[in-house]
Symmetry: C2
Subunit: 356 residues, 2 copies
DNA sequence: GTGAAAGCGCTAACAC
DNA sequence: GTGTTAGCGCTTTCAC
């Protein structure tokens, strides 16, 4: 039975409002009184009940962070960065995992909505329409997806894909494949779009392969398809798949990069260990940026007359779109291809020139 | 400005308590009325405010899960299992990461305490005393540590260590090392205690080595120490360190298992990929068990007279200790040692016999 | 600088 | 089966 504000008030002969002020607006209370309140509070082990406070202020100082799969090593750095950034701003982050299921995703947003001030939605698998609906119920920041009208943080994977394809073509590869990711993934579409365009601009072929899951197992499962495609280089949707593929190709008697070059995307910790060439995405920066955007939503403001009449406005001040740069990290999973190494300008704008 | 229970009541000409009952005790309300309430609620987009509900019932239907390091692949399976188990019981799990810092750990427990019904503390780094104090403020279940008087879930790592040492001695190793984990770790102490005892019982030497961190980097950093120790086999505190060690030993020109055998503990997903011999610990089962124990705490009961006088009792009905079995998984990181392979009984009780 | 009082959204006796 | 009512613990006008 924890101590309440009333217990503290009684114990040091002061009114509850004074105790309340001691915690929420210390400068409004006489230093001497404040000291007395603080010490009795300490003595009674009093801690403000956040549910009660939330009820009246409309703010919980909690944030939600929803990811597709905690077990995917891509996410933990982002989660950690988000948590520490939130902590700097005196907020807490609640993490939840959707198991790559759009329905669970939606349910989690709804469940979290009433107990957080906002939610970071990472790599959502929901349809855009569903996200837009939810955004009306709770402040949302979307990571790894562009949703019109919502603040978003994305990696520049289009340029990442270009860097990867340029790298492979530069090594002398002309029959390439892209091993795709989840259907609902914006990132997947973006990579594919860019890879296709860049390959065409180089005049090389690019086969798009489907996959079963954005995991190692998914990479393993795709090995046979890759071999059958007869390509000499593969770009995978993410490192996890690339690593699975790496092992499975060897199992098929193919050498990497001798027979086939493999490039991943993300640069998860494991990738340097297995010497996977990859495109690094700044996940920690994305986590921090997302939290910052969430906290930049208008603070709740009370309107209406009389005490205890909070009307929380979720108007966002900025629906900024942050795009974070990616970096190619050449390692030993890529090597010379069967053709004369190509040479070309690696201009930043090359890919987007093609789009028009 | 979300709809409240009052809006719904007004909109379908019924009293708020009827609306409340429709959601918290549907069978107490006339099916016809219930239907009307439900549909207007749906129409207005009403969802019960959990903070308000928590305030009066004393229950949040949220659980906290605190882990040392989300980025350690050991934890995600446990987190996922806990989340899905909680979901079955209509609860949510908030995950938080302490970065292996005891102070952060304590702070997080306190911060979560008022917004969850209980907390699962995984692999705590705090002192037992601190945990006992916190347990008075919020229901706690401890995983990977035994704390007297608290419900705990532990892996039988003592037996796991015995399995590992037996395995190595059986292969003909007689100069062994244990590469230890974090100082605050109960598991670390337990493994060391058991490994030392079992080694003695076999009449082989076991050097205990300290480490900098329970991560791949920690394993890498320890390689030189391991080499200098002149042993032919190493048991590491966890797979992550074992894997780091594996790579670094090769870097030092040693072959595994030719020159040196390496055994890990945990069986994280990565371990099968690198063919690490390890002791599997049932982390998912631990997550489920911990959630079950938390939900087995006495439900809050209102005492005192009059409405709205919740007195939450945290008496736990059982302070059970669950011990989960471990399994040795021999792979290719262990091989024959320089001595005649030993043969001995692998009796389950052998190690504990030595303790007396 | 402090007290008084209203009320956030909801639940749970208690009446009828 | 439904309405009435009193508050959960807290914050915030408004007086003084």
């Amino acid at each position: 039975m924890p101590a309440t504000i009333r217990d503290v008030a009684r114990a040091c002969g002061v009114h509850v409002s004074t105790v309340s002020r001691t915690f929420s607006a210390p400068n409004l209370v006489n230093p001497e009184t404040r000291g007395r309140v603080l010490s009795t509070a300490e003595h009674l082990g009093y801690r403000p009940n956040r549910a009660a406070r939330a009820l009246i202020t409309g703010r919980t100082t909690n944030l939600g962070l929803i990811v597709a799969d905690i077990a995917n090593p891509y996410f933990p750095p982002m989660i950690k960065a988000a948590q520490s950034q939130a902590r700097l701003r005196d907020h807490h982050v609640f993490v939840a995992d959707t198991d790559e299921d759009p329905a669970v995703e939606e349910e989690l947003v709804r469940a979290l909505a009433t107990q957080v001030d906002g939610i970071v939605l990472c790599s959502p698998r929901m349809a855009n329409g569903a996200i837009e609906v939810l955004a009306r119920e709770v402040p949302l920041v979307v990571v790894n997806r562009v949703v019109a009208g919502l603040p978003t943080v994305v990696m520049d994977v289009a340029h990442g894909a270009k860097q990867a394809i340029d790298h492979l073509v530069g090594l002398g590869h002309r029959e390439l494949a892209y091993l795709g990711g989840p259907r609902g993934s914006w990132t997947n579409k973006e990579i594919r779009r860019s890879a296709v365009a860049v390959a065409r601009s180089h005049g090389v072929s690019l086969t798009v392969l489907d996959s079963v899951a954005p995991t190692e197992a998914g990479g393993v499962a795709a090995a046979e398809d890759v071999r059958r495609a007869g390509v000499t280089a593969v770009l995978a949707y993410n490192d996890l798949m690339a690593i699975g593929l790496l092992g499975a190709l060897k199992g098929l008697g193919l050498t990497v990069p001798g027979d086939i070059s493999v490039v991943g995307i993300d640069d998860i910790p494991l990738s340097s260990a297995v010497q996977l060439t990859t495109v690094a995405t700044p996940t920690a920066a994305a986590g921090r940026a997302a939290v910052d955007m969430l906290l930049r939503y208008d603070s709740p403001t009370r309107t209406g007359r009389g005490p205890g009449r909070p009307v929380v406005e979720h108007t966002i001040r900025t629906s900024a779109q942050t795009t974070l740069p990616t970096t190619l990290i050449p390692r030993q999973s890529t090597g010379p291809g069967p053709y004369e190494p190509a040479s070309f300008r690696d201009a930043r704008g090359a890919e987007s020139d093609l789009q028009s």
